[in-house]
Symmetry: C2
Subunit: 148 residues, 2 copies
């Protein structure tokens, strides 16, 4: 069982993608985040879902979440307005999260070791030219390991 | 839209639950982790999926993932042996992750603010007596916010 057998298509965004589009990609898909790729399709980093929320929720609400309770408007309105026309580049944390990358021949144990070390529930699988072939989630990997 | 409308049943483990059982609960369910509850059913913390991997992958492989490539046995065998009869309590990180908790009346914006601040893709919803009513994931919340 190698990375090529475990890799599945995974949604990606670019640095110029509007954050709102990223939020829509994330919504309801149960993904740990989105893979950010460069213009050549090579993985750069991961955009964690919680980071999108950090952009979408007004700062005063994050500092004191009880204030959010008294905001006199629909949550969705606040949320969409805060995201505005900001891009993924503006949304990434100052210290970018490590996105572990493996080649198609990596073994399941190697992938698990990388996820464990990087504390990342996602590993990108790249071809020899560095292009994204797909990704492996923690769930996929655990499923294969505990059910085999 | 309040926490009571967004909360959904969520799998839980106790401190005495075998980690292997936790791994099986996590596998293939696309959850960001499992909620750890005490004997009265009150949420204590979250067990991140990557933490289960940290227990399951031999230490020498984590330090040098390329070593994992040359292990001459099936990954699943290594994985299951390492987990052995260890419990969730033995698997939790020394510094427990914050699991944000809200009451049934919390608003969507309040929940989003909590997730953003704690960088947690999961919020537990508890009743007045502290018992777990359910949980709200980042995906559920984003779905409601961007599609409304």
């Amino acid at each position: 069982m190698q990375a090529r057998d475990l890799a599945a298509p995974f949604p990606t965004v670019e640095l110029t993608t509007p954050v709102l589009e990223a939020a829509r990609l994330l919504a309801g898909q149960d993904l740990p985040g989105l893979i950010v790729v460069d213009w050549r399709g090579r993985p750069l980093t991961i955009l964690p879902g919680t980071q999108v929320l950090r952009m979408a929720v007004p700062q005063y609400c994050q500092e004191d979440p009880t204030l959010a309770r008294v905001v006199d408007e629909a949550a969705a309105d606040v949320f969409l307005r805060e995201l505005g026309d900001r891009t993924v580049a503006q949304c990434l944390p100052a210290e970018r999260r490590e996105l572990p990358v493996v080649g198609p021949g990596a073994t399941a144990l190697e992938i698990a070791a990388l996820m464990a070390r990087a504390r990342s529930p996602l590993v990108a699988v790249v071809d020899d030219d560095g292009g994204l072939r797909g990704a492996i989630t923690l769930d996929t990997l655990l499923h294969r390991l505990v059910s085999s």
